[in-house]
Protein backbone atom coordinates (compact mmCIF):
# COMPACT_ATOMS: atom_id res chain seq x y z
CA UNK A 1 0.00 0.00 0.00
CA UNK A 2 3.07 2.24 0.03
CA UNK A 3 2.10 3.83 -3.24
CA UNK A 4 -1.35 4.87 -2.08
CA UNK A 5 -1.38 8.61 -1.48
CA UNK A 6 -2.84 9.74 1.82
CA UNK A 7 -3.27 13.43 2.53
CA UNK A 8 -3.05 14.31 6.23
CA UNK A 9 -4.65 17.71 6.75
CA UNK A 10 -2.94 18.90 9.94
CA UNK A 11 -0.69 17.58 12.71
CA UNK A 12 -2.82 15.59 15.09
CA UNK A 13 -0.87 12.64 16.50
CA UNK A 14 2.73 11.60 15.97
CA UNK A 15 2.02 7.86 16.27
CA UNK A 16 -0.67 8.15 13.58
CA UNK A 17 1.62 10.22 11.39
CA UNK A 18 4.47 7.73 11.70
CA UNK A 19 2.24 4.79 10.89
CA UNK A 20 0.66 6.53 7.91
CA UNK A 21 4.17 7.34 6.70
CA UNK A 22 5.21 3.70 7.05
CA UNK A 23 2.18 2.18 5.38
CA UNK A 24 1.24 4.72 2.71
CA UNK A 25 2.64 7.59 0.68
CA UNK A 26 1.95 10.36 3.16
CA UNK A 27 1.46 13.98 2.16
CA UNK A 28 1.48 16.48 5.02
CA UNK A 29 -0.91 19.24 3.91
CA UNK A 30 0.25 21.70 6.57
CA UNK A 31 3.81 21.64 5.28
CA UNK A 32 2.85 22.52 1.74
CA UNK A 33 3.49 26.18 0.89
CA UNK A 34 1.56 26.28 -2.42
CA UNK A 35 -1.46 24.06 -1.93
CA UNK A 36 -3.06 24.75 -5.28
CA UNK A 37 0.15 23.84 -7.11
CA UNK A 38 0.57 20.77 -4.95
CA UNK A 39 -2.96 19.58 -5.65
CA UNK A 40 -2.48 20.08 -9.40
CA UNK A 41 0.61 17.92 -9.31
CA UNK A 42 -0.38 15.23 -6.84
CA UNK A 43 -4.15 14.96 -6.84
CA UNK A 44 -4.17 11.87 -8.99
CA UNK A 45 -2.28 9.86 -6.43
CA UNK A 46 -4.27 10.92 -3.40
CA UNK A 47 -6.90 8.33 -2.57
CA UNK A 48 -7.44 9.09 1.11
CA UNK A 49 -7.72 12.11 3.38
CA UNK A 50 -7.13 12.03 7.14
CA UNK A 51 -8.63 14.97 9.02
CA UNK A 52 -9.68 15.81 12.57
CA UNK A 53 -11.90 18.19 14.55
CA UNK A 54 -9.96 21.21 13.28
CA UNK A 55 -9.91 20.49 9.57
CA UNK A 56 -11.31 17.76 7.34
CA UNK A 57 -12.55 17.71 3.78
CA UNK A 58 -14.78 20.48 2.54
CA UNK A 59 -16.40 20.57 -0.91
CA UNK A 60 -13.51 22.46 -2.43
CA UNK A 61 -10.89 19.96 -1.30
CA UNK A 62 -13.05 17.01 -2.33
CA UNK A 63 -13.50 18.50 -5.80
CA UNK A 64 -9.76 18.96 -6.15
CA UNK A 65 -9.05 15.28 -5.41
CA UNK A 66 -10.61 13.31 -8.26
CA UNK A 67 -9.19 10.00 -7.02
CA UNK A 68 -10.40 10.42 -3.45
CA UNK A 69 -12.03 7.23 -2.17
CA UNK A 70 -12.12 7.63 1.60
CA UNK A 71 -12.03 10.32 4.27
CA UNK A 72 -10.98 8.93 7.63
CA UNK A 73 -11.49 11.39 10.46
CA UNK A 74 -9.40 11.37 13.66
CA UNK A 75 -12.50 12.47 15.57
CA UNK A 76 -16.06 11.38 16.16
CA UNK A 77 -17.40 14.77 15.05
CA UNK A 78 -18.04 15.10 11.33
CA UNK A 79 -18.69 18.82 11.07
CA UNK A 80 -15.52 19.46 9.09
CA UNK A 81 -16.48 17.00 6.36
CA UNK A 82 -18.93 17.76 3.56
CA UNK A 83 -20.90 14.54 4.00
CA UNK A 84 -23.33 15.30 1.20
CA UNK A 85 -20.49 15.82 -1.24
CA UNK A 86 -18.97 12.52 -0.14
CA UNK A 87 -22.27 10.70 -0.57
CA UNK A 88 -22.71 12.27 -3.99
CA UNK A 89 -19.31 11.10 -5.14
CA UNK A 90 -19.38 7.68 -3.46
CA UNK A 91 -16.54 8.61 -1.12
CA UNK A 92 -16.48 6.58 2.11
CA UNK A 93 -16.24 8.39 5.43
CA UNK A 94 -15.13 6.94 8.78
CA UNK A 95 -14.79 8.44 12.24
CA UNK A 96 -13.70 7.33 15.73
CA UNK A 97 -16.83 6.63 17.81
CA UNK A 98 -16.90 4.69 21.10
CA UNK A 99 -13.18 4.74 21.83
CA UNK A 100 -13.35 8.34 23.04
CA UNK A 101 -16.80 8.27 24.68
CA UNK A 102 -15.52 7.63 28.20
CA UNK A 103 -12.76 10.22 28.10
CA UNK A 104 -15.09 12.95 26.88
CA UNK A 105 -17.71 12.05 29.49
CA UNK A 106 -15.05 11.95 32.21
CA UNK A 107 -13.91 15.42 31.19
CA UNK A 108 -17.45 16.78 31.21
CA UNK A 109 -17.83 15.70 34.84
CA UNK A 110 -14.33 16.98 35.58
CA UNK A 111 -15.36 20.38 34.22
CA UNK A 112 -18.52 20.38 36.35
CA UNK A 113 -16.50 19.65 39.48
CA UNK A 114 -13.82 22.15 38.50
CA UNK A 115 -16.36 24.96 37.99
CA UNK A 116 -18.63 24.31 40.96
CA UNK A 117 -15.88 23.46 43.45
CA UNK A 118 -13.43 25.98 41.97
CA UNK A 119 -10.71 23.31 41.69
CA UNK A 120 -8.42 25.40 39.48
CA UNK A 121 -8.85 28.51 41.60
CA UNK A 122 -8.14 26.53 44.76
CA UNK A 123 -4.99 25.10 43.23
CA UNK A 124 -3.90 28.59 42.26
CA UNK A 125 -4.80 29.91 45.73
CA UNK A 126 -2.42 27.50 47.41
CA UNK A 127 0.33 27.90 44.80
CA UNK A 128 0.31 31.69 45.22
CA UNK A 129 0.64 31.42 49.01
CA UNK A 130 -2.79 32.92 49.65
CA UNK A 131 -3.87 30.12 51.99
CA UNK A 132 -1.56 31.61 54.60
CA UNK A 133 -3.74 34.74 54.57
CA UNK A 134 -7.01 32.89 55.11
CA UNK A 135 -9.36 30.18 53.98
CA UNK A 136 -10.73 30.02 50.47
CA UNK A 137 -14.35 31.09 50.14
CA UNK A 138 -17.29 28.69 50.14
CA UNK A 139 -17.90 26.92 46.86
CA UNK A 140 -20.95 25.16 45.44
CA UNK A 141 -21.85 21.54 46.10
CA UNK A 142 -21.97 19.34 43.00
CA UNK A 143 -23.79 16.29 44.36
CA UNK A 144 -27.51 16.49 43.76
CA UNK A 145 -27.41 19.32 41.22
CA UNK A 146 -29.78 18.82 38.27
CA UNK A 147 -27.96 18.09 35.02
CA UNK A 148 -29.52 18.81 31.63
CA UNK A 149 -27.94 17.12 28.62
CA UNK A 150 -28.34 18.30 25.04
CA UNK A 151 -27.97 15.22 22.90
CA UNK A 152 -28.42 11.80 24.48
CA UNK A 153 -26.15 9.83 22.18
CA UNK A 154 -23.14 7.79 23.27
CA UNK A 155 -21.39 10.67 25.00
CA UNK A 156 -24.58 12.16 26.50
CA UNK A 157 -25.54 8.78 27.94
CA UNK A 158 -22.08 8.28 29.42
CA UNK A 159 -22.27 11.72 31.05
CA UNK A 160 -25.69 10.89 32.48
CA UNK A 161 -24.44 7.61 33.96
CA UNK A 162 -21.59 9.39 35.72
CA UNK A 163 -23.70 12.29 36.97
CA UNK A 164 -26.25 9.84 38.37
CA UNK A 165 -23.52 8.44 40.64
CA UNK A 166 -23.41 11.93 42.18
CA UNK A 167 -27.19 11.75 42.77
CA UNK A 168 -27.78 14.33 40.06
CA UNK A 169 -31.30 14.24 38.57
CA UNK A 170 -30.90 13.92 34.78
CA UNK A 171 -32.96 15.53 32.06
CA UNK A 172 -32.29 15.93 28.35
CA UNK A 173 -33.22 17.46 25.06
CA UNK A 174 -32.85 15.52 21.86
CA UNK A 175 -34.35 15.72 18.36
CA UNK A 176 -36.80 13.06 19.54
CA UNK A 177 -37.62 11.47 22.86
CA UNK A 178 -35.72 8.24 23.55
CA UNK A 179 -37.88 5.22 24.34
CA UNK A 180 -35.25 3.29 26.27
CA UNK A 181 -34.49 5.79 29.02
CA UNK A 182 -36.07 7.01 32.26
CA UNK A 183 -34.49 10.45 32.13
CA UNK A 184 -36.89 13.38 31.85
CA UNK A 185 -37.27 14.68 28.32
CA UNK A 186 -37.81 18.32 27.43
CA UNK A 187 -39.03 19.19 23.95
CA UNK A 188 -36.96 22.36 23.70
CA UNK A 189 -33.53 23.51 24.78
CA UNK A 190 -35.03 26.51 26.58
CA UNK A 191 -37.33 24.24 28.60
CA UNK A 192 -34.32 22.10 29.48
CA UNK A 193 -32.22 25.14 30.44
CA UNK A 194 -35.04 26.51 32.62
CA UNK A 195 -35.21 23.27 34.52
CA UNK A 196 -31.63 22.36 35.22
CA UNK A 197 -28.69 23.85 37.05
CA UNK A 198 -25.92 22.43 34.88
CA UNK A 199 -26.46 22.34 31.10
CA UNK A 200 -24.13 20.17 29.00
CA UNK A 201 -23.77 20.31 25.22
CA UNK A 202 -23.18 16.76 23.98
CA UNK A 203 -24.76 16.70 20.53
CA UNK A 204 -23.11 16.74 17.12
CA UNK A 205 -22.57 20.01 15.27
CA UNK A 206 -24.87 20.40 12.27
CA UNK A 207 -26.40 23.46 10.62
CA UNK A 208 -29.41 22.91 12.94
CA UNK A 209 -27.39 22.85 16.15
CA UNK A 210 -25.15 25.81 15.38
CA UNK A 211 -25.62 28.38 18.17
CA UNK A 212 -28.03 26.05 19.90
CA UNK A 213 -26.87 27.88 23.02
CA UNK A 214 -28.04 31.42 22.35
CA UNK A 215 -29.07 34.41 24.43
CA UNK A 216 -32.48 32.97 25.32
CA UNK A 217 -31.03 29.67 26.49
CA UNK A 218 -28.34 31.43 28.52
CA UNK A 219 -30.98 33.63 30.16
CA UNK A 220 -33.07 30.56 30.93
CA UNK A 221 -30.07 28.89 32.57
CA UNK A 222 -29.57 32.01 34.65
CA UNK A 223 -27.19 33.51 37.22
CA UNK A 224 -26.94 30.26 39.19
CA UNK A 225 -26.66 28.08 36.11
CA UNK A 226 -23.51 26.55 34.66
CA UNK A 227 -22.84 25.74 31.01
CA UNK A 228 -20.51 22.90 30.05
CA UNK A 229 -19.45 22.56 26.40
CA UNK A 230 -17.63 19.43 25.30
CA UNK A 231 -19.19 19.50 21.83
CA UNK A 232 -18.02 22.07 19.33
CA UNK A 233 -17.32 25.77 19.74
CA UNK A 234 -20.01 26.83 17.23
CA UNK A 235 -22.68 25.16 19.38
CA UNK A 236 -22.47 28.30 21.50
CA UNK A 237 -23.00 31.92 20.52
CA UNK A 238 -19.67 32.84 22.02
CA UNK A 239 -20.28 36.59 22.05
CA UNK A 240 -23.52 36.13 24.02
CA UNK A 241 -21.84 33.69 26.40
CA UNK A 242 -19.02 36.12 26.96
CA UNK A 243 -21.25 39.04 27.90
CA UNK A 244 -23.45 36.83 30.11
CA UNK A 245 -20.42 35.63 32.08
CA UNK A 246 -18.77 39.02 32.33
CA UNK A 247 -22.05 40.61 33.45
CA UNK A 248 -22.85 37.83 35.92
CA UNK A 249 -26.04 36.77 34.14
CA UNK A 250 -24.68 33.20 33.95
CA UNK A 251 -23.27 31.44 37.02
CA UNK A 252 -20.30 29.79 35.39
CA UNK A 253 -18.94 27.82 32.45
CA UNK A 254 -16.60 24.93 31.69
CA UNK A 255 -15.52 25.01 28.05
CA UNK A 256 -13.32 22.57 26.16
CA UNK A 257 -14.13 23.97 22.72
CA UNK A 258 -14.30 27.41 21.12
CA UNK A 259 -15.52 29.00 17.92
CA UNK A 260 -12.05 29.85 16.70
CA UNK A 261 -9.53 27.43 18.21
CA UNK A 262 -6.80 27.86 19.35
CA UNK A 263 -8.10 31.37 20.10
CA UNK A 264 -10.24 31.59 23.22
CA UNK A 265 -11.94 34.76 24.52
CA UNK A 266 -9.41 36.62 26.66
CA UNK A 267 -12.19 38.37 28.56
CA UNK A 268 -12.87 35.03 30.25
CA UNK A 269 -9.31 34.44 31.43
CA UNK A 270 -9.71 36.37 34.66
CA UNK A 271 -13.04 34.88 35.75
CA UNK A 272 -12.83 32.37 38.59
CA UNK A 273 -16.17 30.77 37.69
CA UNK A 274 -14.91 29.78 34.24
CA UNK A 275 -12.67 26.82 33.41
CA UNK A 276 -11.17 26.77 29.92
CA UNK A 277 -9.45 23.76 28.38
CA UNK A 278 -7.56 23.53 25.07
CA UNK A 279 -9.82 20.91 23.38
CA UNK A 280 -8.58 17.96 25.40
CA UNK A 281 -11.82 15.94 25.50
CA UNK A 282 -10.27 12.84 23.99
CA UNK A 283 -6.72 13.88 24.85
CA UNK A 284 -5.35 10.89 26.70
CA UNK A 285 -2.50 8.69 25.52
CA UNK A 286 -4.71 5.61 25.60
CA UNK A 287 -7.60 7.11 23.67
CA UNK A 288 -5.60 8.92 20.99
CA UNK A 289 -3.76 5.67 20.30
CA UNK A 290 -7.07 3.84 20.00
CA UNK A 291 -8.37 6.58 17.69
CA UNK A 292 -5.24 6.35 15.54
CA UNK A 293 -5.62 2.59 15.32
CA UNK A 294 -9.19 3.06 14.14
CA UNK A 295 -8.10 5.49 11.42
CA UNK A 296 -5.39 3.07 10.29
CA UNK A 297 -7.72 0.09 10.55
CA UNK A 298 -10.38 1.79 8.46
CA UNK A 299 -7.90 2.81 5.76
CA UNK A 300 -6.40 -0.67 5.57
CA UNK A 301 -9.83 -2.30 5.48
CA UNK A 302 -10.86 -0.02 2.64
CA UNK A 303 -7.78 -0.64 0.52
CA UNK A 304 -7.99 -4.39 1.15
CA UNK A 305 -11.66 -4.36 0.12
CA UNK A 306 -12.78 -5.45 3.55
CA UNK A 307 -15.73 -4.01 5.52
CA UNK A 308 -14.94 -0.67 7.10
CA UNK A 309 -14.62 -0.69 10.90
CA UNK A 310 -16.55 2.49 11.68
CA UNK A 311 -18.18 3.83 8.54
CA UNK A 312 -20.42 6.87 8.54
CA UNK A 313 -20.97 7.09 4.80
Amino acid sequence: MESIGVLMICPMNSYLEQELDKRFKLFRYWNIPQTQQFLKENSNSIRAVVGNSMAGADAQLIESLPKLEIVSSFSVGLDKIDLNKCKEKGIRVTNTPDVLTEDVADLAIGLMLAVLRRLCECDRYVRKGLWKTGDFKLTTKFTGKSVGIIGLGRIGTAIAKRAEAFDCPISYYSRSEKADTNYKYYPSVIDLASNCQILVVACSLTPETRHIINREVIDALGPKGVLINIGRGPHVDEAELLSALVEGRLGGAGLDVFENEPEAPEELFGLDNVVLLPHVGSGTIETRTAMADLVLGNLEAHFLNKPLLTPVV
Binding site: C120, C122, W131, E266, L277, E286
Partner: protein, 334 residues
Protein backbone atom coordinates in the same frame (compact mmCIF):
# COMPACT_ATOMS: atom_id res chain seq x y z
CA UNK B 1 -34.29 50.90 80.55
CA UNK B 2 -37.14 48.50 79.86
CA UNK B 3 -35.57 47.45 76.60
CA UNK B 4 -32.22 46.63 78.18
CA UNK B 5 -33.96 44.67 80.91
CA UNK B 6 -35.81 42.65 78.26
CA UNK B 7 -32.59 41.88 76.41
CA UNK B 8 -30.89 40.74 79.58
CA UNK B 9 -33.81 38.50 80.44
CA UNK B 10 -33.73 37.00 76.97
CA UNK B 11 -29.99 36.29 77.19
CA UNK B 12 -30.28 34.69 80.59
CA UNK B 13 -32.96 32.35 79.29
CA UNK B 14 -30.91 31.11 76.39
CA UNK B 15 -28.83 27.99 76.98
CA UNK B 16 -25.16 28.78 77.34
CA UNK B 17 -22.62 27.43 74.88
CA UNK B 18 -18.87 28.01 75.09
CA UNK B 19 -17.39 28.44 71.62
CA UNK B 20 -13.79 27.58 70.80
CA UNK B 21 -12.15 28.18 67.44
CA UNK B 22 -14.52 29.54 66.27
CA UNK B 23 -15.84 26.97 63.79
CA UNK B 24 -16.17 28.08 60.18
CA UNK B 25 -19.97 28.12 60.32
CA UNK B 26 -19.53 31.28 62.38
CA UNK B 27 -18.60 33.11 59.19
CA UNK B 28 -22.22 32.94 58.08
CA UNK B 29 -24.27 31.74 61.02
CA UNK B 30 -22.97 33.56 64.11
CA UNK B 31 -26.04 35.80 64.32
CA UNK B 32 -28.40 32.86 63.92
CA UNK B 33 -26.61 30.95 66.66
CA UNK B 34 -26.71 33.98 69.00
CA UNK B 35 -30.45 34.05 68.69
CA UNK B 36 -30.75 30.49 69.94
CA UNK B 37 -27.91 30.26 72.45
CA UNK B 38 -25.97 32.50 74.74
CA UNK B 39 -22.56 32.22 73.18
CA UNK B 40 -19.43 32.58 75.27
CA UNK B 41 -16.73 33.81 72.92
CA UNK B 42 -13.34 33.83 74.65
CA UNK B 43 -11.60 35.51 71.71
CA UNK B 44 -13.75 38.60 72.24
CA UNK B 45 -12.62 38.90 75.82
CA UNK B 46 -9.47 40.79 76.84
CA UNK B 47 -8.70 38.36 79.66
CA UNK B 48 -6.54 35.28 79.05
CA UNK B 49 -8.31 32.09 78.01
CA UNK B 50 -7.57 30.18 81.22
CA UNK B 51 -9.09 32.93 83.33
CA UNK B 52 -12.09 33.21 81.05
CA UNK B 53 -12.70 29.48 81.32
CA UNK B 54 -12.37 29.50 85.09
CA UNK B 55 -14.94 32.28 85.40
CA UNK B 56 -17.49 30.35 83.33
CA UNK B 57 -16.50 26.85 84.39
CA UNK B 58 -19.44 26.11 86.67
CA UNK B 59 -22.11 27.07 84.14
CA UNK B 60 -20.51 25.60 81.04
CA UNK B 61 -22.12 22.31 80.13
CA UNK B 62 -21.79 22.52 76.34
CA UNK B 63 -18.81 23.37 74.14
CA UNK B 64 -18.94 24.06 70.40
CA UNK B 65 -15.56 23.64 68.76
CA UNK B 66 -13.93 23.56 65.37
CA UNK B 67 -11.25 21.07 64.38
CA UNK B 68 -8.33 23.45 64.65
CA UNK B 69 -8.51 23.89 68.38
CA UNK B 70 -5.32 22.16 69.48
CA UNK B 71 -5.78 23.25 73.09
CA UNK B 72 -9.19 21.58 73.41
CA UNK B 73 -7.99 18.95 75.88
CA UNK B 74 -6.44 21.50 78.24
CA UNK B 75 -9.54 23.67 77.98
CA UNK B 76 -11.80 20.76 78.89
CA UNK B 77 -9.67 20.05 81.93
CA UNK B 78 -10.67 23.51 83.24
CA UNK B 79 -14.36 22.84 82.63
CA UNK B 80 -15.60 20.22 85.12
CA UNK B 81 -19.28 20.72 84.23
CA UNK B 82 -19.03 19.96 80.51
CA UNK B 83 -21.36 17.18 79.37
CA UNK B 84 -21.29 17.82 75.62
CA UNK B 85 -18.70 18.71 73.02
CA UNK B 86 -20.06 19.51 69.56
CA UNK B 87 -17.43 19.61 66.85
CA UNK B 88 -18.06 21.07 63.43
CA UNK B 89 -15.82 18.49 61.79
CA UNK B 90 -16.24 14.89 60.75
CA UNK B 91 -12.86 13.83 62.02
CA UNK B 92 -12.82 13.92 65.83
CA UNK B 93 -9.05 13.42 65.98
CA UNK B 94 -8.59 16.72 67.84
CA UNK B 95 -10.75 15.45 70.68
CA UNK B 96 -9.43 13.16 73.42
CA UNK B 97 -12.23 10.64 73.05
CA UNK B 98 -10.83 8.38 75.75
CA UNK B 99 -10.95 11.22 78.23
CA UNK B 100 -14.46 12.25 77.13
CA UNK B 101 -15.69 8.70 77.55
CA UNK B 102 -14.08 8.53 80.98
CA UNK B 103 -15.74 11.76 82.06
CA UNK B 104 -19.12 10.86 80.55
CA UNK B 105 -18.93 13.71 78.06
CA UNK B 106 -20.94 13.12 74.88
CA UNK B 107 -19.41 14.18 71.60
CA UNK B 108 -21.44 15.18 68.57
CA UNK B 109 -19.82 15.57 65.18
CA UNK B 110 -20.63 16.43 61.58
CA UNK B 111 -21.42 12.83 60.69
CA UNK B 112 -22.51 12.41 57.09
CA UNK B 113 -23.19 16.08 56.39
CA UNK B 114 -20.01 16.36 54.38
CA UNK B 115 -19.65 12.87 52.97
CA UNK B 116 -20.80 13.80 49.47
CA UNK B 117 -18.73 16.99 49.36
CA UNK B 118 -15.56 15.23 50.48
CA UNK B 119 -16.17 12.43 48.00
CA UNK B 120 -16.80 14.97 45.24
CA UNK B 121 -13.54 16.72 46.03
CA UNK B 122 -11.53 13.49 46.19
CA UNK B 123 -12.92 12.47 42.79
CA UNK B 124 -12.43 15.98 41.42
CA UNK B 125 -8.79 16.03 42.52
CA UNK B 126 -8.11 12.67 40.87
CA UNK B 127 -9.81 13.68 37.60
CA UNK B 128 -7.79 16.91 37.72
CA UNK B 129 -4.48 15.10 38.29
CA UNK B 130 -5.05 12.50 35.59
CA UNK B 131 -6.62 14.83 33.00
CA UNK B 132 -4.45 17.83 33.96
CA UNK B 133 -7.46 20.12 34.27
CA UNK B 134 -5.92 22.82 36.46
CA UNK B 135 -2.66 22.72 34.52
CA UNK B 136 -4.38 22.92 31.13
CA UNK B 137 -6.71 25.70 32.32
CA UNK B 138 -3.65 27.63 33.43
CA UNK B 139 -1.90 26.90 30.11
CA UNK B 140 -4.84 28.32 28.19
CA UNK B 141 -5.44 31.32 30.43
CA UNK B 142 -1.81 32.38 30.19
CA UNK B 143 -2.18 32.56 26.41
CA UNK B 144 -0.06 29.54 25.54
CA UNK B 145 -2.47 27.59 23.30
CA UNK B 146 -1.88 29.59 20.11
CA UNK B 147 1.84 29.72 20.91
CA UNK B 148 2.67 26.18 21.95
CA UNK B 149 -0.05 24.22 20.14
CA UNK B 150 -1.79 21.18 21.53
CA UNK B 151 -1.55 20.46 25.23
CA UNK B 152 0.39 17.27 26.11
CA UNK B 153 -1.74 14.13 26.32
CA UNK B 154 -3.11 13.12 29.70
CA UNK B 155 -4.13 9.78 31.23
CA UNK B 156 -7.44 7.95 30.93
CA UNK B 157 -9.49 7.24 34.08
CA UNK B 158 -11.58 4.38 32.75
CA UNK B 159 -10.42 0.94 33.78
CA UNK B 160 -8.02 2.26 36.41
CA UNK B 161 -7.72 0.33 39.68
CA UNK B 162 -8.82 2.48 42.60
CA UNK B 163 -7.61 1.60 46.10
CA UNK B 164 -9.73 3.23 48.81
CA UNK B 165 -8.24 3.43 52.28
CA UNK B 166 -11.10 3.44 54.75
CA UNK B 167 -14.49 2.38 53.46
CA UNK B 168 -16.71 4.40 55.77
CA UNK B 169 -19.37 6.77 54.49
CA UNK B 170 -16.93 8.92 52.55
CA UNK B 171 -15.06 5.94 51.10
CA UNK B 172 -18.31 4.38 49.94
CA UNK B 173 -19.43 7.60 48.28
CA UNK B 174 -16.09 7.76 46.45
CA UNK B 175 -16.46 4.14 45.35
CA UNK B 176 -19.98 4.69 44.04
CA UNK B 177 -18.86 7.67 41.95
CA UNK B 178 -15.78 6.04 40.49
CA UNK B 179 -17.60 2.84 39.58
CA UNK B 180 -19.63 4.98 37.17
CA UNK B 181 -16.34 6.05 35.54
CA UNK B 182 -15.58 2.41 34.81
CA UNK B 183 -12.97 2.07 37.54
CA UNK B 184 -12.26 -1.09 39.52
CA UNK B 185 -12.65 -0.59 43.27
CA UNK B 186 -10.68 -2.30 46.04
CA UNK B 187 -10.24 -1.20 49.62
CA UNK B 188 -8.40 -1.53 52.86
CA UNK B 189 -10.22 -0.99 56.11
CA UNK B 190 -9.94 -2.14 59.73
CA UNK B 191 -12.52 -4.80 58.93
CA UNK B 192 -14.04 -6.28 55.82
CA UNK B 193 -17.46 -4.80 55.06
CA UNK B 194 -19.92 -7.61 54.45
CA UNK B 195 -22.33 -5.34 52.60
CA UNK B 196 -19.89 -4.55 49.74
CA UNK B 197 -18.43 -6.84 47.12
CA UNK B 198 -15.25 -4.89 46.37
CA UNK B 199 -12.01 -6.86 46.92
CA UNK B 200 -10.75 -6.32 50.46
CA UNK B 201 -7.12 -6.02 51.56
CA UNK B 202 -5.90 -6.10 55.13
CA UNK B 203 -2.53 -4.67 54.17
CA UNK B 204 -2.17 -1.16 52.70
CA UNK B 205 1.03 -2.09 50.84
CA UNK B 206 -0.72 -4.93 49.09
CA UNK B 207 -3.60 -2.62 48.18
CA UNK B 208 -1.07 -0.11 46.84
CA UNK B 209 0.66 -2.75 44.67
CA UNK B 210 -2.67 -3.52 43.07
CA UNK B 211 -3.85 0.04 42.56
CA UNK B 212 -3.31 2.86 40.09
CA UNK B 213 -4.56 5.39 42.62
CA UNK B 214 -4.85 5.40 46.40
CA UNK B 215 -7.64 7.55 47.79
CA UNK B 216 -7.42 8.18 51.51
CA UNK B 217 -10.83 8.23 53.18
CA UNK B 218 -10.02 7.08 56.69
CA UNK B 219 -9.91 8.91 60.02
CA UNK B 220 -6.66 10.03 61.61
CA UNK B 221 -5.81 8.12 64.76
CA UNK B 222 -2.85 6.33 66.31
CA UNK B 223 -3.07 3.46 63.82
CA UNK B 224 -3.35 5.64 60.73
CA UNK B 225 -0.69 8.24 61.57
CA UNK B 226 1.84 8.07 58.67
CA UNK B 227 -0.01 5.04 57.36
CA UNK B 228 1.17 6.06 53.89
CA UNK B 229 4.92 5.70 54.27
CA UNK B 230 7.83 4.99 51.95
CA UNK B 231 6.96 1.34 51.69
CA UNK B 232 3.41 2.07 50.58
CA UNK B 233 4.53 4.73 48.10
CA UNK B 234 7.11 2.32 46.69
CA UNK B 235 4.37 -0.30 46.28
CA UNK B 236 2.12 2.25 44.58
CA UNK B 237 4.81 2.80 42.00
CA UNK B 238 5.82 5.19 39.23
CA UNK B 239 2.40 5.21 37.55
CA UNK B 240 0.54 5.58 40.83
CA UNK B 241 -1.30 8.62 42.13
CA UNK B 242 -2.28 9.47 45.67
CA UNK B 243 -5.32 11.54 46.67
CA UNK B 244 -5.75 12.85 50.21
CA UNK B 245 -8.84 14.71 51.39
CA UNK B 246 -8.73 13.16 54.88
CA UNK B 247 -5.95 14.35 57.21
CA UNK B 248 -2.43 15.44 56.29
CA UNK B 249 -0.76 13.33 58.97
CA UNK B 250 -1.98 10.09 57.43
CA UNK B 251 0.81 10.55 54.88
CA UNK B 252 4.51 10.82 55.71
CA UNK B 253 4.77 14.17 53.96
CA UNK B 254 8.56 14.19 53.72
CA UNK B 255 8.47 10.81 51.98
CA UNK B 256 5.70 11.99 49.67
CA UNK B 257 7.67 15.07 48.66
CA UNK B 258 10.72 12.99 47.90
CA UNK B 259 8.78 10.44 45.85
CA UNK B 260 7.10 13.17 43.83
CA UNK B 261 10.31 15.09 43.26
CA UNK B 262 12.09 11.98 42.09
CA UNK B 263 9.24 10.85 39.87
CA UNK B 264 8.75 7.68 41.89
CA UNK B 265 5.02 8.21 41.87
CA UNK B 266 3.07 9.86 39.05
CA UNK B 267 1.20 12.57 40.89
CA UNK B 268 -0.90 13.68 43.85
CA UNK B 269 -4.10 15.55 44.66
CA UNK B 270 -3.89 17.02 48.16
CA UNK B 271 -6.51 18.89 50.20
CA UNK B 272 -4.74 18.39 53.51
CA UNK B 273 -1.18 18.71 54.79
CA UNK B 274 0.79 18.03 57.93
CA UNK B 275 1.34 21.71 58.76
CA UNK B 276 -1.53 23.65 57.27
CA UNK B 277 -1.70 26.26 55.87
CA UNK B 278 1.91 25.60 54.96
CA UNK B 279 2.51 23.26 52.06
CA UNK B 280 5.90 21.84 51.09
CA UNK B 281 7.51 24.44 48.82
CA UNK B 282 9.14 21.72 46.72
CA UNK B 283 5.74 20.54 45.54
CA UNK B 284 4.79 23.95 44.19
CA UNK B 285 7.17 23.46 41.28
CA UNK B 286 5.46 20.27 40.14
CA UNK B 287 2.60 20.34 37.66
CA UNK B 288 1.50 16.79 38.47
CA UNK B 289 0.30 17.92 41.90
CA UNK B 290 -3.09 19.55 42.41
CA UNK B 291 -3.57 21.53 45.61
CA UNK B 292 -6.67 22.40 47.58
CA UNK B 293 -6.73 24.51 50.80
CA UNK B 294 -8.50 22.01 53.12
CA UNK B 295 -11.73 22.99 51.47
CA UNK B 296 -13.32 19.55 51.01
CA UNK B 297 -16.25 20.46 53.22
CA UNK B 298 -16.61 24.14 52.49
CA UNK B 299 -19.60 24.44 50.22
CA UNK B 300 -22.52 26.74 50.92
CA UNK B 301 -24.89 23.82 51.05
CA UNK B 302 -22.84 21.84 53.55
CA UNK B 303 -22.33 24.90 55.68
CA UNK B 304 -26.10 25.27 55.94
CA UNK B 305 -26.52 21.54 56.60
CA UNK B 306 -23.82 21.69 59.25
CA UNK B 307 -25.42 24.68 60.93
CA UNK B 308 -28.74 22.80 61.06
CA UNK B 309 -26.98 19.76 62.53
CA UNK B 310 -25.05 21.77 65.15
CA UNK B 311 -28.23 23.53 66.25
CA UNK B 312 -30.13 20.25 66.23
CA UNK B 313 -27.51 18.58 68.44
CA UNK B 314 -27.35 21.49 70.90
CA UNK B 315 -31.13 21.77 71.13
CA UNK B 316 -31.43 18.01 71.66
CA UNK B 317 -28.86 18.20 74.45
CA UNK B 318 -30.56 21.08 76.23
CA UNK B 319 -33.94 19.39 76.07
CA UNK B 320 -32.57 16.02 77.21
CA UNK B 321 -33.29 14.34 73.93
CA UNK B 322 -30.95 11.99 72.03
CA UNK B 323 -28.20 13.72 70.05
CA UNK B 324 -28.66 13.73 66.28
CA UNK B 325 -25.11 12.70 65.45
CA UNK B 326 -23.27 11.33 68.49
CA UNK B 327 -19.77 9.93 68.08
CA UNK B 328 -19.92 6.20 68.76
CA UNK B 329 -16.66 5.90 70.68
CA UNK B 330 -16.04 2.33 69.61
CA UNK B 331 -16.04 3.38 65.94
CA UNK B 332 -13.13 5.73 66.49
CA UNK B 333 -11.09 4.13 69.20
CA UNK B 334 -9.20 0.87 69.15
Amino acid sequence: MAQIHTNQTLSVNLPQVLVLGPPSIFRIYEKHLSQKFMLLKPWESPIPLEEFLSIHAQNTTAVLTSSVVAYLSSALRLLPSVRLVVTSSVGPDHIDLKECRRRGISVAYASSVFSADVADLAVGLWVDVLRKISAANCFLKTGLWPVKGDYPLATKLGGKRVGIIGLGRIGQEVAKRLEAFGCKISYQSREKKPSVSYPFYTDVCELASNSDVLIICCALNDQTYHLINREVLQALGRQGVIINAARGAIIDEKALVQFLQEGKIAGAGLDVFEHEPNVPEELLELDNVVFSPHSAVFTEESCKDLYDLVVGNLEAFFSNKPLLSPVQFDDFMR
